[in-house]
């Protein structure tokens, strides 16, 4: 693992996002997708964001890219706050951060040739002329393990794995420093998944990218990321180095998550912690700690205040007031 440089390239402070269901006039319910999240990714570092559906991990990814206005908190990129930038320099920033999506079949424009889509990043910002762009496209295709002649073909002529590679090529063509990968491999078969994970690891190392890897598949995150952040119902439960979080999970939810992941080798299967019931609805989360309704160690105190993310050991922080007791 490369040692990540200290100062984070992208940093979110107290980030939160509220969605309002309901039309133009009607005041629908307010859904708190992300609640006061701090997250930072340094250049060359890979931060894994893990959580189940409805945990707000995708929303966090889009907020940090500035694709969505935040309801609260700030996102700064390379020291400059994103919120207030607008117009031209907002677009200039766009070149330096990119995204890769989950669904291989929805992430490419079916009507345009693959080469043209990869060159979009350059064409939009009018970088170089047509010749240079074609060259760059060929280089990128090779870099992601595809044949440069594929540039002339259309997306429907490729398999799921190949499409994800094209998505990567498109994102990296304009030379970004920060890449958000939103569940890039969940839709793929195991064998193809492993290929893409390998590719991502190589690219991160070679290009010194700051990578935000969003996934619900713990083993993949464990393999690929330096640090991990576990989210539940919009809040961060636990955050720390991958090693620490996976080997000795501190937060009850992390423990349940890890124990629920099916293990190949029987010896790995610790006694299974089965969570009762379903996650509460995000429009009226429980008071205090949002996980308390399903936590085996919940106490009345958990309901009073929202637990702070407090350091627990040297390279980890936990949002659970009873973390020490149940270690």
């Amino acid at each position: 693992m490369t040692t990540p440089s200290a100062t984070p390239l992208v940093e979110a402070k107290g980030l939160s996002k509220i969605f309002h269901t309901g039309g133009l006039f009607r005041r629908g319910r307010a859904v708190q997708a992300v609640r006061a999240v701090d997250a930072g990714v340094a250049r060359g570092e890979a931060l894994g964001v893990v959580g189940e559906s409805g945990s707000g991990k995708s929303t966090l990814g889009r907020l940090m890219l500035g694709l969505m206005p935040a309801s609260g908190g700030t996102v700064s990129f390379d020291g400059r706050p994103l919120g207030r930038t607008s117009g031209r320099d907002w677009r200039a920033l766009r070149r330096r951060m990119q995204i890769v999506f989950q669904d291989p079949y929805g992430s490419l424009d079916p009507r345009r040739r693959v080469g043209a889509q990869i060159a979009d990043g350059l064409a939009i910002h009018r970088v170089g002329d047509a010749g240079q762009r074609a060259e760059r496209v060929a280089g990128m295709l090779e870099r992601v393990g595809l044949d440069p002649s594929h540039a002339q073909r259309y997306p429907h002529e490729f398999s799921g794995g190949q499409r994800q590679r094209i998505g990567l090529a498109r994102a990296l063509a304009s030379g970004p420093d920060f890449l958000v990968a939103d569940e890039p491999v969940s839709a793929l078969d195991v064998s193809i998944q492993a290929q893409i994970v390998q590719l991502l690891a190589e690219l991160r190392r070679d290009l010194g990218l700051a990578l935000l890897f969003i996934s619900h598949d713990l083993p993949v995150v464990r393999h690929l990321c330096d640090r991990v952040m576990v989210m539940y119902l919009g809040r961060v439960m636990e955050e720390g180095t991958a090693e620490a979080v996976f080997t000795s999970p501190a937060h009850p939810y992390t423990r349940a998550l890890i124990s629920a992941t099916p293990q190949l080798r029987p010896d790995r299967r610790a006694d299974r912690i089965l969570l009762a019931g379903d996650p509460p609805s995000p429009s009226n989360p429980p008071s205090g700690c949002v996980f308390r309704t399903r936590c085996a160690h919940a106490r009345p105190a958990c309901a009073e205040a929202v637990p702070e993310l407090r350091p627990h050991g040297e390279s980890r922080r936990v949002a659970c007031i009873r973390a020490e007791e149940i270690a």
């Binding site: 133009l24 189940e52 559906s53 890219l65 694709l67 907002w90 677009r91 200039a92 920033l93 951060m97 990119q98 995204i99 999506f101 989950q102 929805g106 490419l108 424009d109 079916p110 009507r111 345009r112 889509q117 979009d120 990043g121 939009i124 910002h125 190949q162 998505g167 498109r170 304009s174 078969d189 195991v190 064998s191 193809i192 998944q193 492993a194 290929q195 893409i196 994970v197 390998q198 619900h216 713990l218 083993p219 993949v220 464990r222 393999h223 996976f246 349940a256 998550l257 629920a260 992941t261 099916p262 293990q263 190949l264 080798r265 029987p266 790995r268 299974r272 089965l274 969570l275 379903d278």
Partner: protein
């Protein structure tokens, strides 16, 4: 595309005829010859003369020119304006939407003929006014179609991607969104033209459309109606021309819509001639007291590009209380096998070889009523996507009760009570209230529990679970796996568990069958197979599964398509141990002494050499 050709040619012919009118050497459509009034077919005017003695044929063709000209112009204007409004409305929700799409409702409130009348009286009759009226009338149609398409296009990732690349909104709308909604808009355009021709003739018929003496089909029909008694034929020509053109356009629209709309399944199912295979065609094979015994099942599907066999020579058996896992990547044929068992194959698919013994009966040779009695009774199935497997318009309790009453006659109340017990049995909290819940009110995990309750309703001997937890979160998956294991222990049901995740197989399976490209490549006790996989594919799969330590190694290449299965070992092109012999001839299943099966001619060599995972 055949459907497109005929109407397309017809429409093209009409348009060509209209365009070439001036050069066809037709008589002047406007010059009157009162003496020849209402004359029948005569030299120079094959279709005779109208009430002013004008040549009917030339008026028909020039009429086409006016009618189609007005229709195309109106449809184009409405198309351009409507699409723009829809784009703006769909992209800038809120105020944009109100201004563009909601304002269309006002136009829709107007009775169409009144709108035409008001505009015509205001601006005076004539082609120009007519075009204005028609384009206003068809504006809402375009705006709504575009609005809906933009909303759906917006949800795709490729639009978000271009936005992330920093493209300005204008570029996104024009370069990315517009081309992708071109199809439905085109269909709407051709629909609008067809409708415009009808309305133009209607308005001209009422005297509100084209000003005489310019010819138009509507005017010709109006004139001919007055002289219906003297010469009924006069009425026939314009009506026929009008109807034929619109018919051609409508058929063209249908063809366009099918070509554009990806959803319509391409393959037209053609039922094969021979029905079920004749009983007794195959030698009876002895049965081993298993709940289910599959022997050499082969399924063939007729596709436009020829017959394919996604499942070939699949055999396995499941004993009571035992869980047989079927693992394989997408395209391996595991789901087709399950559907074939249940007899739920689409019309184009047909089991062509092998036998499927459920107890004493071979499912492949049962007629539909007998097989239906088993479905949901002796054998039941749970599907992958709980979101769409329950009927959204019926309450979940009723759907479970329905399964019960399909096999046992009892009163609705009794069935409901039993369903309540089943709900409690599968661990649904607060079952009384949840019985009357609608599917969309339940979470994914809850819905899957309902599916399991429905499957176990009639205490099946065999439960087939087709990737039941793939669409669920990992914590919920753990709950469901636990539930299935518990139920199996309790009821002794035999279970076939289909999945692509080796982790899940390790957790739940007693025996495992690995499938690749429609064939069984390895079969045996799960623990043994995981400990020492014999087939290179199984070994590569295990290596690719990240489990904390070791670098997950991808398998190069792609799963072959059913149309292009290699003759020899189907994994050879991707196998690191492949040799020339592998690709020579089809490989048979070998049986090891421990009762394990593998389909690899070099398995002994590889096993002895105990090479570490490649």
């Amino acid at each position: 595309m055949k459907r497109l050709w005929i109407p397309g040619a017809l429409v093209a012919a009409v348009i060509l005829l209209a365009l070439l009118a001036p050069w066809l050497g037709l008589a002047d459509p406007v010059k009157q010859d009162i003496a020849q009034r209402l004359a029948g077919p005569m030299p120079g005017s094959p279709l005779g003369r109208d009430e002013f003695g004008r040549d009917v044929l030339s008026r028909l063709i020039w009429g086409a020119r006016t009618s189609l000209g007005v229709a195309f112009a109106a449809a184009a204007i409405a198309g351009i304006l409507g699409t723009m409004l829809g784009l703006v409305g769909g992209w800038f929700r809120g105020i944009g939407e109100l201004l563009t799409v909601r304002s269309m409702d006002i136009i829709l409130c107007f009775p169409p003929v009144l709108l035409a009348l008001l505009v015509v009286t205001l601006l005076g009759p004539g082609a120009g006014t007519l075009i204005l009226v028609l384009s206003v009338l068809y504006l809402p149609g375009f705006a709504r179609v575009t609005y809906a398409e933009v909303l759906s296009a917006r949800s795709h990732d490729y639009v978000e991607a271009v936005r992330a690349l920093g493209a300005p909104t204008g570029r996104i709308l024009l370069r990315t969104v517009l081309p992708n909604i071109a199809g439905p808009v085109l269909v709407q355009l051709s629909l609008a033209v067809a409708a415009a021709v009808v309305l133009e003739s209607g308005l001209s018929f009422l005297g509100l459309g084209v000003v005489p003496p310019a010819p138009s089909w509507g005017l010709m029909i109006r004139g001919a109606r007055a002289t219906m008694e003297q010469s009924p034929l006069l009425l026939l020509w314009p009506c026929a021309a009008l109807s034929l053109t619109i018919l051609a356009m409508n058929l063209l629209c249908d063809g366009l819509r099918d070509a554009v709309d990806p959803r319509t399944p391409a393959a037209r199912p053609r039922p094969r001639l021979i029905d079920r295979m004749l009983p007794g065609m195959l030698p009876p094979t002895e049965r081993t007291g298993a709940v289910l015994d599959l022997q050499g099942l082969t399924v063939e599907i007729a596709t436009p590009r020829g017959r394919i066999r996604p499942v070939e020579d699949v055999s396995f058996s499941v004993r009571p209380g035992e869980t047989m896992a079927i693992v394989g990547e997408s395209g391996s044929g595991k789901s087709v096998t399950a559907t074939a068992l249940m007899g739920l194959l689409p019309p184009a698919a047909r089991p062509v070889a092998g036998a499927v013994w459920l107890g004493e009966r071979d499912l492949l040779r049962l007629d539909e009523p007998a097989l239906r009695a088993l479905r949901g009774g002796a054998m039941a199935m749970v599907f992958q996507d709980p979101m769409s497997s329950l009927n959204p318009v019926h309450r979940v309790g009723d759907q479970v009760a329905e399964a019960i009453r399909a096999h046992r006659t009892m009163t609705a109340k009794a069935a409901r009570a039993e369903a309540l017990g089943l709900f409690r049995r599968v661990g649904i909290a607060d079952p009384e209230r949840r019985l009357d819940a609608w599917p969309h009110e339940l979470s994914g995990g809850m819905r899957q529990r309902v599916m399991i309750a429905m499957a176990l309703a009639n205490r099946p001997g065999l439960l087939i679970a087709d990737e039941p937890t793939t669409a669920l979160d990992v914590t919920v998956q753990a709950q469901i796996l636990e539930l299935l294991a518990e139920l199996q222990r309790e009821t002794g049901t035999a279970m076939i568990f289909i999945t692509h995740s080796l982790g899940v197989v390790a957790e739940i399976a007693d025996r495992v069958t690995v499938m690749y490209a429609g064939q069984v490549v390895e079969q045996g006790d799960a623990a043994a197979v995981f400990a020492a996989p014999l087939h290179p594919y199984t070994r590569a799969l295990l290596a690719a599964t990240p489990d904390g330590d070791g670098q997950p190694a991808g398998i190069p290449g792609v799963v072959p398509q059913p149309h292009a299965f290699p003759t020899g070992c189907r994994f050879a092109p991707r196998c690191s141990h492949a040799v020339a012999a592998c690709e020579a001839a089809p490989v048979m299943l070998d049986e090891t002494q421990g009762g394990r099966l593998t389909r690899c001619i070099r398995w002994t060599e590889l096993a002895n050499g105990a090479e570490c995972a490649a």
